[in-house]
Point group: C2
Chain length 121, copies 2
């Protein structure tokens, strides 16, 4: 059985439609930043259920939509699952080093907090 993308395709900005301001806004929320850190660490497509977030399901859906509509992540339906992946190649082509620098900054901040932040649970 194949896992081809379902016809329920979701809207994504093309690479040249991605705006720096929207990317920074997407990354400026603690829950969204945590999602992005998890995705960068795993380096694979992840379903929304992978993420154990301290927010409601509808809020989670909202955060994933902001990440998708800003161009930070790609969401694809495979069967009944919605899978998420970072658009690292697109972001690096547009804004070299930005995603990596933000991820390093987030790691540094978490380390200074002694790993006690919810984002590091």
């Amino acid at each position: 059985m194949t896992t081809a993308p379902s016809p329920r395709a979701l809207d994504h900005p093309a690479r040249d439609q991605i705006r720096l301001e929207a990317v920074l806004h997407a990354l400026s929320d603690p829950v969204r930043l945590r999602i992005v850190r998890d995705m960068a660490r795993e380096g694979a497509e992840l379903s929304c259920s992978y993420f154990d977030l301290p927010v409601t399901k509808s809020t989670t859906t909202h955060h994933f939509r902001v990440l998708r509509e800003s161009g930070v992540i790609q969401q694809v339906y495979r069967g009944t699952a919605k899978l998420n992946a970072l658009r690292g190649d697109d972001l690096d082509a547009l804004f070299p080093g930005l995603l990596g620098t933000v991820l390093s900054a987030a790691a540094a901040q978490a380390a200074r907090a002694g790993g006690t932040l919810p984002a590091d649970a």
Copy 2:
């Protein structure tokens, strides 16, 4: 006549109170990003009146307050002028390379737009 800071000191976060999420939020607005780019280019303390922004005075004041409260800029009264400077040293100490990467990304985006964005007027 000296230009010592007036007693009307404004609240700023200490270096260790600066949060990555707040910095990214501050930089995620086109007008605020333009202010930061102008300040980085000039490399000196600038009064709010230096900036020719396409927004009202009260909106301008709001944007400067967001930049100050997030830790991106320092605002000091000197006589009747409120002078603004980037907190580049603080940001680089906390989040190495972040400000420079965002500024480079903003410049790249502006260049792709052919310099026709309002932010480059």
